[in-house]
């Protein structure tokens, strides 16, 4: 039962340093994400969606409340870094790839900081990376190239391959389609969800693009999730 819950948040409160006084703190009373329940978290930019993802990823420690990922909530920074490395794949808005690594090495980067991811990827890491890249329709001729030679759409697909490499149970995607046109955005979401299902990962994607909601099993309005300190719009930071 518990293991079916990928994320559980209770009584979360967080404010960036110096932000609490302005009443811009983020508060999430309760949230949970079940395995396989790909969720689209929709809301305008600057409301703290990225902050929430950062908290789930363990980059920050909340001032109050609890965030569990697969039942674990390490208190130390090192513990949260390890949890992120082992259990989560992350896709950014853009610039997901290190320019000095090849496409292949960018995918393999996911295994560099986690033994668990390496073990899950199987004996031949390159073969596993190649399998993911092929399934994401990235031609073999691109694998040895620098990430700089790829189109934005291709770069985002490489980011999916990295996020899924080593079969992490959770994929966090932060506005991953905002740099793509509508057609590419649809292809991206299609592939992300399809591959996540194939590899047994659950996707939590935040975006302001409402039209993408239809692809997800569950859609949540960010405003209904959070309670701003001053209520409603105060939760949104100016961006």
């Amino acid at each position: 039962m518990t293991e079916e819950v990928v994320i559980r948040i209770e009584g979360l409160r967080f404010a960036w340093p110096g932000q609490a006084q302005e009443g811009g703190a983020l508060a999430v009373p309760a949230f949970s994400l079940r395995r396989g329940e790909h969720t689209f978290l929709q809301g305008p930019s600057g409301c703290g969606k990225s902050t929430l993802l950062g908290l789930i990823a363990g980059l920050q420690q909340p001032q109050a409340g609890r965030i569990e990922v697969l039942g674990q909530a390490p208190q130390s920074m090192a513990g949260r870094d390890r949890l992120r490395a082992e259990l989560m794949g992350i896709v950014f808005q853009q610039f997901n790839l290190l320019p000095y690594l090849s496409v292949m090495d960018n995918v393999l980067l996911a295994a560099r900081f986690s033994t668990a991811r390496r073990l899950h990827a199987g004996a031949d890491l390159r073969a596993e990376a190649a399998r993911l890249l092929t399934r994401l329709s990235l031609a073999e001729s691109l694998w040895r190239k620098s990430a700089l030679h790829l189109s934005v759409g291709q770069q985002q697909r490489v980011a999916i391959a990295r996020a899924l490499f080593g079969r992490p149970p959770l994929v966090l995607a932060d506005e991953p389609t905002s740099a793509l046109d509508t057609a590419n955005a649809q292809i991206f979401v299609d592939m992300l969800l399809e591959e996540a299902d194939a590899d047994g990962a659950t996707v939590l994607m935040v975006s302001h693009a409402q039209e993408l909601a239809q692809y997800f099993r569950r859609t949540l309005d960010f405003a209904s999730l959070v309670q701003g300190e001053g209520g409603g719009e105060a939760a949104c930071r100016e961006s």
Binding site: L53, L59, F92, F113
Partner: protein, 420 residues
């Protein structure tokens, strides 16, 4: 951690142009620091090797540093002469084991001519107490015999049998040649690394002979004495420049110094070569300190430049660091990434600097040898140099910790996406 090292390398290679300039600054700092220390050390070494074994240098009363520099190193201004009679008297003193008369003033194609006695070859110690060795020929015997140092032979292409003419004064001037009385090279000395290598040695009688028909630095008009005729004159010198004394017991050196000072016939002094060299280094110390100071300023500027460049690059690398954080790199690994880059750049600069210094020192040595007759030893990493390299490395490590710590703090405060 090995993962971070290879990432650091590839990331650095991606920014190699910028980093190459930091490396160049570190190379310059290393070269300056090393060559100043090495030059200083070998200068001190080569000077003390030249006076090794001599207990006292006797000359006319004046500046002891000037006497040492002129009599032994043939550098600087000529000193007053002392009389041959006083020199003879001191040579017979019961405490004296040996004495070497030195008479300077002439030159041959820029090389100083030193008139001395056979005692020079029997007692003068060079290097670590070795006597002079002949690589060719023998010591002088005849009035017009000459023995040349190894460098004179090499540079002028001379061998035994070569006829040479001497020039009055240290610099060749027209009409100041002793062309009428040529000398013949009878011996070539083995290299010693001391001023001996650059010296043309003749007998005191030879020096006397070429100046018979000269007075006050110019040929006497209407008077000419041929080389053969000169042999019939009394060729005992009237004066010499200085005298080196070796004592039977080293402990007598202060008593002997007093005996020299008490010489009634003329005002003389005896200087202790070691003590006088120390005085010389004290004089030169200020200059050495300025050079060392400058070298350190360059080193600090190099490190400051590195810190500034790495800090500036940090801003541009926020996305790179965010990606690494996302795939699980901890703040310490981010610190290591930046720190390793600084360390690598410092090490690369220092290594290149050491190699370049090792290959530049011989060139510097050759130049110094031509112009000042001083040769530098090759690069040797003695305690001072190693200490300095260690200090430079420590500076580089501390310097690269600054951007490292900044990146560490940044990765703690940064969320998922860099707030650009």
């Amino acid at each position: 951690m090995p993962g971070i090292l290879s990432l650091a390398l590839r990331s650095a290679w991606n920014r190699r142009t910028t980093l190459a300039f930091i490396v160049a600054a570190m190379v310059l700092a290393t070269i300056l620091l090393l060559s100043v220390t090495q030059a200083r050390r070998s200068l001190h070494e080569s000077f003390s090797q030249a006076v090794n074994g001599t207990d006292l240098i006797v000359g006319a009363r004046g500046s002891n540093v000037q006497l040492l520099l002129y009599a032994v190193f043939h550098i600087g201004d000529a000193t007053q002469n002392m009389s041959w009679a006083s020199a003879q008297k001191l040579a017979r003193h019961p405490a004296v084991a040996w004495s070497i008369p030195l008479s300077l003033g002439d030159s041959h194609r820029g090389f100083p001519v030193l008139a001395t006695s056979q005692a020079y070859f029997e007692h003068l110690q060079v290097g670590h107490g070795e006597l002079l060795q002949f690589s060719q020929g023998r010591m002088f015997n005849d009035v017009y015999d000459a023995v040349i140092g190894s460098e004179v032979a090499q540079r002028l292409g001379y061998a035994v049998g070569q006829r040479i003419t001497l020039t009055h004064g240290a610099v060749a001037m027209p009409g100041a040649a002793h062309a009428d009385k040529p000398f013949r090279v009878v011996g070539v000395l083995a290299p010693t690394g001391t001023p001996v290598d650059r010296t043309v040695h003749i007998t005191l009688a030879g020096m006397e002979a070429i100046h018979l028909d000269w007075q006050a630095g110019a040929p006497l008009p209407g008077m000419h004495i041929s080389a053969e005729a000169a042999r019939r004159f009394d060729l005992t010198p009237k004066t010499i420049t200085a005298q080196l004394l070796g004592l039977k017991r080293r402990s007598d050196v202060f008593a002997m110094q007093r005996a020299v000072a008490d010489e009634a016939a003329e005002p003389l002094m005896g200087v202790l070569p070691g003590v006088t060299l120390d005085q010389l280094w004290e004089l030169a110390g200020r200059g050495e300190q300025v050079l060392m100071g400058l070298a350190w300023v360059v080193a600090v500027a190099g490190i400051a430049g590195m810190v500034a460049t790495l800090l500036a690059s940090l801003q541009a690398r926020r996305r790179e660091l965010a990606i690494l954080r996302a795939v699980g790199a901890g703040p310490w690994e981010i610190l290591a990434l930046l720190g390793l880059e600084g360390l690598g750049v410092t090490l690369a600069g220092m290594l290149l600097g050491v190699l370049l210094t090792a290959s530049l020192l011989p060139l510097m040595s050759a130049w110094l040898e031509v112009h000042y007759g001083i040769s530098l030893a090759g690069l040797s990493l003695d305690v001072t140099s190693v200490t300095m390299l260690a200090l430079l490395l420590a500076g580089g490590v501390l310097g690269s910790l600054i951007p490292g710590v900044c990146a560490w703090r940044m990765s703690l405060s940064e969320g998922l996406a860099p707030r650009v």
